[in-house]
Symmetry: C2
Subunit: 235 residues, 2 copies
DNA sequence: ACCTGAACACCGTTCAAGT
DNA sequence: ACCTGAACACCGTTCAAGT
């Protein structure tokens, strides 16, 4: 609940890009992607939906800015380890935790290429590659592999987390998915059936980290000699 | 253009799940995700929007089934190489090519976990892991890494391809993205600026393959000894 | 310049009425 | 059982009118 005092203070402030984005994040956190409508946003800002267009181009721009804000905060959440591989792992896990806390971010990230949040992630990971011994002509491919893995799991995990929160939505989508499954020949999916047995002791975050480690192992295997050291002071 | 004869033949057939899904794919291929509305679908099927609900649960189910249909066709498009690593690479590239041909598939894949298309991809990749020397307790993590990488790039590439097709959409979104970029401090993105120089000689498909190879290298590095041979007949 | 909110042109979904 | 299409309850976006 927001106090009347806060409401009136807020109302006294002029509308701004920052206030629109902040409020959008509040709405998205509370109700997920479906809850973000320009009408809901305008109501919370005590104005009409048209007012928002004076500060952001359209609804997509609002969602993009909200996503960038969350990812930016996550990526710059404190100092990183000195070791480059551990830094990359830490950055990826910060994104994972941000999506865990704000599931709507996963869907936003997966949907639009080169949006600011993706660019920031690319930059944060890319700058650590020289210290992993990756030659410059492979920087783009290596960064792309890491970033796209993060975004892929982001989308899938976010969708799963979304299902976990909103009970009514969960029931609906699970029923739909179950209906689709009925069209599959179950005998044709021996691997999935084996995996289903492991699902109870399954930890999404650990699995996410394992995937990052796999890609880092691939990078290490390809550049075994010329790895740079990030150790602070060797003579 | 569809001939009147074809139209009347189609109209004569009863509505069915298959016809709805086929028609949805046609609409999606022609106009992308934005073009798929239940009204457009009903028009093409010469019926009302309500009729569709007799064959699929809702619009999401239509999109899910269309996605599964495209991915299923791609994954089963001819025999696979005997070598497990080459099979995994080939499967991933088939998905990439399917998304290249049907950009809307990328967005659909990235959005919903455990939908039939994702399950099929999981199954196709997972069954090749034993021949890569991956022990069973690592199957889930390894398959997850490969699948999520594919889905991540799928989403980003599909969005880019979508921009490349629909000219009006392209101009609009690029303007929006450019506006967001204006809020970034360009000096803070040295890595992205270096990557931009390589962008002209950039090949999305090759980069996608490079990422798969990186993950496969990671798997190989972790299981160097006990790799199984897929060679057909050794004594 | 910024805000307001009615109006416009759509959506997905439901459901009474038909066959 | 299947289909029809009007009706319902919404959307994002625009824009004349206000301050």
């Amino acid at each position: 609940m927001v106090s009347k005092q806060l409401l009136s203070r807020r109302r006294a402030e002029p509308l701004s890009r920052e206030r629109v984005v902040e409020t959008a994040i509040d709405i998205l956190d509370a109700g997920g992607n479906a809850a973000l409508t320009l009408r809901a946003l305008a109501d919370r800002l005590s104005t009409g939906p048209g007012a928002i267009y004076h500060h952001l181009a359209n609804k997509r721009a609002v969602a993009r800015a909200a996503t960038a804000s969350v990812i930016d905060a996550a990526l710059s959440d404190g100092p990183l380890p000195a070791d480059a591989a551990e830094s990359v792992r830490e950055l990826a896990l910060r994104v994972f935790d941000a999506i865990d806390a704000h599931p709507w971010v996963g869907a936003q990230l997966a949907l639009e290429p080169w949006q600011p949040a993706v660019v920031r992630l690319f930059e944060a990971i890319g700058t650590r590659l020289p210290d992993l011994g990756v030659p410059e002509n492979e920087h783009f491919d290596s960064a792309s592999a890491l970033v796209n893995y993060v975004l892929g799991l982001a989308g899938q995990y976010a969708a799963g987390a979304r299902l976990g929160r909103d009970e009514s939505d969960r029931a609906l989508v699970l029923r739909d998915i179950a209906e689709e499954w009925a069209h599959l020949d179950e005998a044709a999916f021996p691997f999935m059936r084996r995996m289903a047995l492991h699902l109870s002791q399954h930890d999404d975050r650990a699995q996410f980290g394992a995937g990052i480690d796999l890609i880092l192992d691939g990078i290490r295997a390809r550049h075994p000699i010329e790895r740079h050291r990030a150790a602070p002071d060797e003579p």
